[in-house]
């Protein structure tokens, strides 16, 4: 009975290591998939100090020069940037949109150029795009994402319907193909309008939030990034990278930072699980100490009839390791079982290395945490052990 309780400690420790590591891996994989949807040709130029990372805020870099339409135009200069296919400005805004008596606040509202849709790998699959002419004319037209469409129109077609956004009439001309969520942001809860309209009617003519750049092909992305840097430095009169007032990101850099943060998350989760394994190990020490105390007399007898220290040590170590291995095996089975289910919205990805590690660690736990009591047993003086009642 008390063996079962001891085993339970190790079981919980091992299974949580496996489950939590799997959850960490699963969420890392999910994020990676989302980022890969961006496309390898995409480059994003952002201002310093909280640019358009989630699409929530406007850039307002107080000390440095912000990004401008002029910067965008410079990036589109084919002579200076042969590896850039196109660059589109993005101005983030916040607004609420209403259709009749239904209102919705999209997670992201952007003003941009038509070239954005290709540069950001966000094609429209219902209706059409607004045009350069719409930009020139500062018209109130929009392309919305599937989530916003559903929120405002339910199953009706949004095409050619007029909605009111931030006090302005806006005609919906198209709905984008669904891109899914990254877990933090719904990419389909979005409204995209001509930047000139957003500037005229809503946000004003200050700095823009980001510039979405597309390289001519995947191979040229690094060259394109270099050209972006050169042009931005010249536009902003920047002499060295230390004083740069903008950032250039592309899929691989974003992927890198998300991988880093996923790793951090996974390590954190594993550490927490390891702590519970530690507690399980302490449980083993506890029960082994009790066992040694109860069998003090027996140990005395064994020593009196000639058991060497090593024999006693081995006997108790093996008992401790049996306990912990049993806990480890059951923990692995439980961990694998629970990892079949989705946890907190994440599909766990079990890694073989975490299973092996958990297994080896549970054996070591028995060895290490059983070692001290086993040593105490082996070091008992026979004469004192024999006198023990």
């Amino acid at each position: 009975m008390r063996s079962s309780l001891t085993i339970l400690g190790v079981l919980i420790g091992v299974s949580s290591v496996i489950i939590l590591t799997a959850v960490g891996n699963g969420s890392a994989a999910a994020v990676r998939q989302q980022i890969e949807k961006l496309g390898t040709n995409s480059i994003t130029v952002m201002g310093m100090g909280g640019g358009g990372g989630g699409g929530f805020s406007r850039t307002r870099s107080s000390t440095a020069k912000g990004l401008t339409i002029a910067d965008t135009t410079a990036l589109n200069n084919k002579d200076n940037a042969p590896h850039i296919k196109q660059a589109a400005p993005i101005l983030n805004a916040t607004m609420t949109c209403t259709y009749g008596n239904i209102s919705a606040t999209p997670g992201s509202a952007k003003g941009t150029w038509p070239s954005y849709f290709e540069a950001a790998n966000s094609p429209v699959d219902k209706g059409g795009y607004w045009t350069n002419d719409d930009v020139a004319q500062k018209r109130g037209v929009a392309v919305i994402g599937t989530t916003l469409a559903k929120n405002l129109f339910d199953t009706d077609s949004p095409i050619d319907k007029v909605i009111r956004c931030a006090g302005q009439n806006v005609t919906v001309v198209g709905v984008m193909k669904s891109k899914g969520t990254t877990g933090f942001q719904d990419s389909d809860d979005v409204i995209i309008m001509p930047i000139t309209f957003v500037q005229r009617a809503i946000a004003g003519y200050g700095n823009i939030s980001q510039i979405q750049v597309e390289s001519i092909d995947a191979k040229s992305t690094q060259l394109a990034m270099d050209e972006v840097t050169a042009i931005m430095n010249s536009q902003h009169k920047i002499k060295s990278t230390a004083t740069a007032d903008y950032r250039v990101l592309n899929q691989s850099t974003i992927l890198q930072s998300s991988t880093d943060s996923s790793k951090t998350l996974t390590v954190l989760l594993a550490a927490i699980a390891a702590i519970s394994l530690l507690v399980g190990g302490i449980g083993i020490t506890n029960i082994m100490l009790v066992s040694v105390t109860e069998r003090t007399r027996e140990i005395g007898i064994l020593k009196a009839i000639g058991a060497p220290k090593a024999a006693i040590l081995t006997q108790f170590l093996i008992e401790a390791m049996m306990l912990s291995l049993l806990g480890g095996i059951s923990g692995v089975l439980l961990g694998l079982g629970i990892s079949h289910f989705s946890i907190l919205g994440v599909v766990p990805v079990v890694s073989l290395s975490s299973v092996l590690t958990a297994f080896i660690v549970s054996a070591l736990v028995g060895l290490v945490f059983g070692g001290w009591p086993a040593n105490r047993a082996a070091s008992l003086r026979p004469i004192e052990a024999l006198r023990y009642e």
Partner: protein
């Protein structure tokens, strides 16, 4: 020419120091030969248990020498003492001290397991030892299934199985009734007749009478050492 099994010279054992010192043994000297049947007697506090622990290599003297089969135990470390205990000394305790939940056969095998004797040999020798004490038909029984007398016989078999220099018995009949006591004393007598050296620690006259030599202790000193013909 008989071999010396136990030789003790000016052996002393003191516990504590200064005013609270207890002089359990005060310069004891004695010798026991192969084939002897000795009873070490004394009241409680006489030092007989202390002497037994030292003879059994369970405890070390504070001063003096102890040779077992001419081997000075002072030179030995704990590992070596464990070997001595398993090969040269056969312990018999007052409370039998068999390993519970283990068969008689396995109990008797145990000292040989620590010596690295092979499984087959262990089994054979243990069976022989149990037969020698008259328990051939109880080999698979566990201690709780045996009477006091039977358990003590198993303990004696265990003591014998390694062919030790001596059987060292601490109040072997202390926990037994009259009939079993007689049984055990007869068994020890029988073993001694066949050549085993037997050393018994006791405070009972009846047990001492079964031996051929009595060494009496009082307050840590030998006050009598008398031998008589069997």
């Amino acid at each position: 020419m008989t071999t010396s099994v136990v030789k003790v010279n000016d052996l002393s054992k003191t516990y504590g120091a200064g005013d609270t010192a207890v002089y359990a043994l005060k310069k004891i000297s004695l010798e026991i030969q192969q084939g002897d049947f000795v009873a070490i007697m004394g009241a409680s506090g006489s030092g007989k248990s202390t002497l037994m622990n030292i003879l059994g290599c369970l405890d070390a003297p504070t001063a003096g020498n102890y040779w077992i089969r001419n081997l000075d135990v002072a030179d030995l470390d704990e590992e070596q003492l464990a070997v001595v205990r398993s090969q040269l000394i056969g312990f018999v305790f007052q409370s039998f001290n068999l390993i519970p939940r283990t068969s008689a056969l396995r109990n008797v095998e145990l000292p040989m397991a620590y010596q690295g004797v092979s499984r087959a040999d262990r089994r054979r020798r243990a069976a022989e030892a149990l037969a020698a004490v008259g328990l051939a038909d109880r080999m698979e029984h566990q201690p709780h299934e045996l009477s006091g007398g039977q358990q003590q016989r198993v303990a004696i078999a265990r003591a014998l199985v390694t062919e030790p220099a001596m059987v060292l018995a601490d109040e072997p009949t202390g926990a037994l009734d009259t009939a079993s006591t007689r049984e055990i004393l007869e068994l020890l007598h029988e073993l001694n007749r066949k050549g085993t050296t037997v050393v018994v620690i006791t405070h009972e006259e009846e047990v001492a009478r079964a031996a051929r030599r009595v060494i009496r202790l009082r307050d840590g000193e030998i006050i009598e050492d008398r031998t008589w013909a069997a």
